[in-house]
Symmetry: C2
Subunit: 349 residues, 2 copies
């Protein structure tokens, strides 16, 4: 089969690789219907995370089950499934606590899981899914083709934006600022709206993303960064800052802006992968009582909650895909996102 | 009148200073019935915070109102009052948001407030209280002498320990670990119990403090620090760590222990004044979804909530005072706390 392999910074290739095989009783083989490129895939693409040897890449996909192991009970051949961006059993104590990203038996796409050997990356034609009963969520059929982009966002970006809002404690009537206008930041706008925020400030300087933020429920746009951006958020929030700030980037500058955009006693929900960034300024947090809560988003736990809204069209996170390419053009997908020609690229095997 | 002045590290003197005078319409003059020494007073005492020139010290006191300005409406001459460790108007937007430590008009004891000039420190015979209607909480009389220690804890340590537990999100049935066995840590044990935690692990290696922790509701004691302490907490919490960890010290080591004692998705509530300590490790927080929430405790907002429990004896935070001295012996009070001969010292003018 074909799958995407990163060889080095800016060297993305779609290559022939071995077909996946059922290797534990709990596996499923999924034929990928759609995959996509994540903002975090750009760290190795840009060389910020070093690529020491060629390896599979991609961790977001939806597809149809082609085969299941003998022990699989909840997933059947022919099911349309969503895979979160990680593997989990959905039964261990951490999963039950809502932190399936810390599953005691979990693993990551494109790496070794602890039972079945190599698990494929998501940007390929097929994927062996370990712990299929825990990892996969079945979407009751039939699934229309136009539903695919929205369902695919539940593999990562929609759940991740939602985790930012949940971690920040967004509630009805609150004021929210969103730092980051990538797909996750835009989904965080949807999340804030869904949780009832009355003021949602999207921080963006790109026209196309601003428009999408407004469509998703942003009530205000702020273009400034740094001091200017902080000042603008304060002006929109009675001079004190936002109740909740959703940090969806992961750099030093974005976290600094997030912390300073929160009101005293406010909370930053963070989901941007910390990019070797600096540590958090505890004295500032102490003086202002601004808390910081979040992390790698346990999206598996949000899929069932968000699925009905995606299927009904109550929320439309699939709109973050503004470019669709065949899997064979994965290199161009990365380049388009790297150069900000696209917000998020959907790949069709 | 007499008041405590710090001249330099380990140089505490009780000196004659000017009597306080009403200087704004909103002031009250309070005759101090009892004051005390705070763990944070030990930073300048030890020279960790430099003392550039002699200044008043002390920020916890209860007393009786001797005079009020023309604009004071909620406090009357003769009232027994509790002063939180800071001045606030209790009406601004930050106060209304529950963060009175960030009051837009607030100030600190022993410094200039923005309306009335110098506000006395708490370790003296009398204190001019700016913004008396906002700052002071009246305790309905009569107040028995044996109630004084408990009421005095509401000026700081009981409310601060409570803030750790509230910030960490302690709820009924949860598991809690408390890092720090000073007065605040011990009050955090009371707080965790009051909020319904079913497992409360006190980390202490001092026999007297261990006994008080057990009396206050701790269900387990852990003596180890660092890796050993973290391992012990994990063993008591099903191998994963505590749901909530209350950080009541403020050093690098204590915060590290707190972060590593929390389970994935758990939360650290921190109230220890960060002692120039290092910044928070955001990557660890990201990977584990352990949030950090807390800061300088807005105790003014907790006094009314906790007062009935203190008066009824449902909670007994006054037990943290294990030494009582006349105000004239303030220097000995500092030495006793510095040398850990006392948990907390009450001073009587």
């Amino acid at each position: 089969m074909l799958a995407t392999v990163i060889h080095a910074a800016r060297d993305i290739r779609v290559e022939a690789v071995p077909d996946p095989l059922l290797s534990t009783g709990g596996d499923a083989i999924v034929r990928v219907v759609a995959a996509c490129v994540c903002g975090s895939d750009l760290w190795p693409y840009r060389g910020i995370t070093p690529t020491r040897e060629p390896h599979r890449i991609g961790h977001e996909f939806v597809g149809v089950v082609e085969a299941v192991g003998d022990d699989v009970a909840l997933v059947q051949v022919g099911d349309f499934v969503i895979a979160p961006f990680y593997v989990c059993d959905n039964t261990c104590v951490n999963c039950r606590n809502g932190v399936s990203t810390s599953c005691l038996n979990g693993s990551w796409w494109g790496g070794d899981d602890r039972f079945g050997g190599f698990a494929d990356g998501g940007q390929g034609e097929r994927v062996r899914v370990p712990l299929a009963d825990g990892t996969l969520v079945v979407v009751p059929g039939p699934v229309a083709d136009e539903e695919v982009p929205g369902l695919l966002t539940l593999a990562d970006v929609m759940g991740t934006g939602y985790h930012a809002a949940v971690s920040a404690g967004v509630t009805a009537g609150s004021t929210v600022a969103v730092v980051g206008d990538g797909a996750v930041g835009l989904c965080a706008v949807i999340a804030a709206r869904r949780l009832g925020a009355s003021t949602i400030i999207a921080i963006s300087r790109h026209r196309d993303r601003q428009e999408l933020a407004l469509e998703f429920g942003a009530t205000h746009l702020v273009e400034g960064r740094g001091d200017e951006g902080v000042r603008a958020v304060r002006e929109l929030t009675g001079g004190i800052g936002a109740d909740h700030v959703l940090e969806c980037v992961g750099t030093k500058e974005s976290m600094d802006q997030a912390l300073r955009s929160a009101r005293p006693g406010g909370r930053v929900g963070f989901v941007g992968v910390p990019n070797g960034g600096p540590e958090l300024p505890i004295r500032r947090m102490f003086d202002t009582n601004v808390g910081v809560v979040g992390g790698v988003a346990p999206v598996r736990g949000y899929i069932e909650e968000l699925l009905p809204d995606v299927r009904s069209g109550a929320i439309n996170p699939g709109r973050v895909f503004d470019l669709e390419l065949p899997l064979a053009d994965a290199a161009e997908a990365y380049a388009a996102m790297d150069e900000r020609r696209a917000i998020k690229v959907l790949l069709r095997p």
